[in-house]
């Protein structure tokens, strides 16, 4: 029995590992190599220039603007998304209080669940095009049209340098919330209902139920959510590309690293330098994931 098992397991593992090596690991390694060259993307033999691209990064204003934006995204986007998603999923699953000895959600929670999840089904490009119309800076935009009805001047959602990044963060949050509502709902449904019932019998209100029971027991799920959202915060390419003025503007106020990588490679023909940015982004992402998992590590609660 036993010796039959290894070929079986290896057979199943080999194919994915091979695919992974060919399509993920080897391009990464190539990117590391390309980042040490002055490759312009149109010849097959780039010249090796050592760490020059990386030293150039250090005083590249646009690069640092992009890094700062990732910082803002990293702090704001996961936090807002998780808070909203938690609130919604609590309402959907436990907000209705006890009925017939079971915890239930508020009325119509099945309908809300579908509505919340809908944005997640839309491709990010469609979301981008959709929000072009919603954020349009003149009176014909959806939001500005509504504001106009109550006599408020059109707001330049994407053209005010101080507002543009937040508008884009708003889109990311709008799209992500639905997924995390479902994720947290799954987490909540796996918490044994007798824990809630016991607490409810002892007179705990919704507030206490949420902060003293739900939140601690959801910790693992939230940790996963934070890492996912954090990694998503290092992307945002498509939305910035579709929504922002002049691809990352106005005045660099919305640019992100994938945008700059794309521009540096395809517009400036500096594939080597773009790869250096890619390598920097790789390390930022890895560092973030490792840090998050370490900092948020807690003792597991068994139930």
């Amino acid at each position: 029995m036993r010796h039959g098992r290894y070929p079986f397991i290896i057979g199943f593992l080999a194919a994915p590992v091979l695919l992974y090596v060919v399509f993920v690991v080897s391009p990464y390694l190539q990117a590391f190599y390309i980042s040490l060259t002055d490759w312009k993307g149109v010849s097959a033999n780039p010249r090796f220039i050592g760490l020059e691209n990386f030293s150039r990064l250090l005083d590249d204003e646009v690069f640092w603007a992009a890094v700062r934006h990732h910082g803002v995204l990293l702090l704001a986007m996961p936090l807002v998304t998780i808070v909203i998603a938690l609130f919604f999923s609590f309402l959907l699953n436990l907000g209705g209080g006890q009925r017939g000895g079971r915890m239930t959600g508020i009325g119509g929670s099945q309908v809300y669940r579908v509505i919340f999840f809908l944005p997640q089904v839309l491709a990010v490009a469609i979301v981008g095009v959709l929000f072009q119309t919603i954020y349009r800076p003149d009176g014909s935009g959806v939001i500005n049209g509504l504001l106009g009805k109550i006599g408020i001047e059109p707001v330049g959602w994407l053209i005010e340098p101080g507002l543009a990044l937040w508008s884009i963060i708003g889109v990311v949050v709008w799209q992500a919330v639905g997924f995390y509502v479902v994720l947290f709902s799954a987490g909540m449904s796996s918490i044994p209902s007798d824990v809630f019932e016991a607490a409810a019998l002892d007179g705990a209100g919704r507030f206490t139920l949420f902060f003293k029971i739900t939140l601690p027991l959801l910790w693992d799920t939230m940790q996963v959510a934070w890492v996912y959202l954090g990694i998503a915060a290092f992307d945002c390419f498509a939305l910035v590309q579709v929504l922002s003025v002049d691809r990352g503007g106005p005045d660099n106020s919305t640019t992100v690293l994938p945008m700059e990588i794309w521009r540096t490679a395809f517009n400036f023909s500096k594939f080597g330098y773009a790869s250096a940015m890619g390598v920097a982004l790789f390390f930022m992402t890895i560092t973030f994931a490792a840090l998050t998992l370490r900092v948020t590590r807690r003792e597991r609660i068994e139930f």
């Binding site: 990117a31 002055d38 010849s43 005045d251 690293l257 990588i261 794309w262």
Partner: protein
């Protein structure tokens, strides 16, 4: 830009979706440029150039010695010019000359995304219309030895008159506009003029005349604004270069063409010269008449408003009329007016316009049939080829006299009148847009900031000088130089 047909209008939503689909692969959340665009291993590229392409006998009719049965692959940017000029005019003419050859036609809106991997792997086509928002960097191609030098083409006998060279059949400055490192690599084909476009029917109805000085421009703006029409507009989201063209043209009118040559040559302090400062300040004044929201709109959105009679003057080039032909109402009559004079002491008169050869066609050096590519360009530069191009695309070519006798649209007629009025007062082209893409990107950014009132003319000059200095100091950018 030299990519004149590559006006922002042709970034459609569908195109955007496709682009995102592609770039999502490349610029995913992890390290950027991965499998999709990596080099083909570490081994040197297959030396396709080493194998001499089969060639035919050189004759008067076949000056490059094209092999009669060698297949030809043509890649056309399908933007404002369409691609029917290639499929219905130039390719049939080539087939007529070489009946045994097969011509493969590829039309794309993303030149770089389509061709970049092919250049990296050595499988290149024989002729490329390199334009559009995503054109390939001609400077980089030339530095990597990927471009065929076109001296042979310009010195070849013309199809129409074998006693003359091809270079003698085109508008003055055409060959020069295609120089990289002082050698001709680009065949700039479309003759374009730049200025402010307006609907002459609307102007007539309101009794307006286009302003000749910036003083008049401001009075004009007040008058037009009072009539409920926006006096001047451009789309900041993707067409800020329309505005920087105007700033550069005005600066050149103040100081003379040497300014544009010096900008291209990255001469120290050129962006801080009085002419640039005066021009930027003058245009920033006009920017105040724009609606703030235009910064977040795209070319087509703003253009539609001009079609609806809501915008008076729109800065652009001569391809605009053709690009908009299906959108404009019947009574709309395009007309061009030069940029107004800034000072009384301008080096060039009001009538001076910028007219230059643009829209680069290239032959890859490592193509399988480069001689066929050259011959294809020679066919394009014949009277028949150029005339057909004008008929199909609505744009005039660099071939002198090829459009004679064709009935001109209102816009083209106005353009031709403007050219006659300008005489020798032609504002020269700019090459930095192709040579130094990073500088160009900075200029787009700061033009929006200036025109929408976030920075002053002085700040604009300072920032541009800083950007130019940075490009100059960047050893990874190969420096170019032009004398005329």
């Amino acid at each position: 830009m030299s990519n004149m047909a590559g006006t922002p209008g042709d970034i459609t939503r569908r195109q955007m979706l496709r682009r995102i689909g592609l770039t999502a692969l490349i610029a995913g959340p992890g390290a950027g440029l991965l499998s999709a665009c990596a080099t083909s291993g570490t081994s040197p590229a297959p030396a396709t150039s080493a194998a001499p392409s089969a060639s035919g006998a050189v004759s008067a009719a076949n000056p490059f010695g094209v092999a009669a049965d060698a297949p030809l692959e043509v890649v056309i940017f399908k933007g404002g010019l369409g691609d029917s000029y290639a499929t219905e005019v130039h390719e049939p003419l080539y087939k007529k000359a070489f009946p045994k050859a097969t011509v493969k036609h590829v039309a794309t809106q993303q030149i770089a995304q389509t061709l970049q991997p092919r250049f990296a792997s050595g499988e290149v086509p024989d002729m490329i219309a390199n334009s559009g928002t995503d054109l390939m960097d001609n400077g980089a191609l030339q530095q990597e030895g990927q471009l065929l030098e076109l001296t042979e083409l310009w010195d070849a006998p013309s199809i129409d008159d074998p006693s003359k060279k091809v270079r003698d059949m085109v508008a003055p400055g055409t060959v020069e506009s295609g120089l990289i490192a002082n050698k001709p690599y680009l065949m700039n084909y479309v003759f374009s003029a730049y200025g402010l476009w307006y609907d002459s029917a609307l102007f007539e109805k309101n009794g307006w005349t286009p302003p000749k000085t910036f003083e008049e421009f401001k009075t004009f703006c007040e008058k037009v604004k009072a009539a409920g029409i926006v006096p001047f507009a451009y789309a900041g989201k993707n067409a800020s270069y329309y505005a920087y063209w105007m700033i550069l043209i005005s600066a050149a009118k103040i100081e003379g063409n040497q300014l544009l040559v010096d900008i291209d040559n990255l001469v120290d302090g050129v962006w801080k010269r009085e002419s640039v400062k005066q021009s930027a300040a003058a245009w920033a004044e006009i920017g105040k008449y724009m609606d703030k929201s235009f910064e977040g709109l795209i070319h087509t959105e703003v253009q539609t408003r001009q079609n609806q009679g809501k915008i008076a003057l729109y800065p652009s080039g001569s391809w605009l009329e053709n690009e908009q032909s299906s959108q404009i109402p019947k009574e709309f009559k395009y007309a061009l007016t030069p940029t107004p004079s800034v000072t009384a002491a301008d080096a060039m008169p009001f009538e001076a316009i910028r007219a230059a050869a643009g829209e680069a066609y290239i032959v890859p050096a490592k193509a399988k049939n480069p001689k066929g590519g050259l011959e294809y360009l020679r066919i394009m530069l014949s009277k028949e080829g150029a005339r057909g191009f004008t008929q199909k695309s609505g744009n005039i070519t660099v071939v002198t006299g090829a459009a004679d006798g064709l009935e001109l649209s209102p816009g083209n007629a106005s353009l031709s009148a403007a050219q006659t009025a300008a005489g020798v007062n032609i504002v020269t082209y700019s090459s930095f847009e192709n040579w130094y893409k990073e500088l160009e990107t900075e200029l787009r950014k700061h033009t929006n900031a200036l025109m929408f009132g976030r920075i002053s003319a002085d700040e604009f000059c300072d920032r541009m000088q800083k950007a130019a200095d940075k490009s100059k100091a960047d050893s990874s950018i190969t420096k170019q130089n032009r004398t005329v």
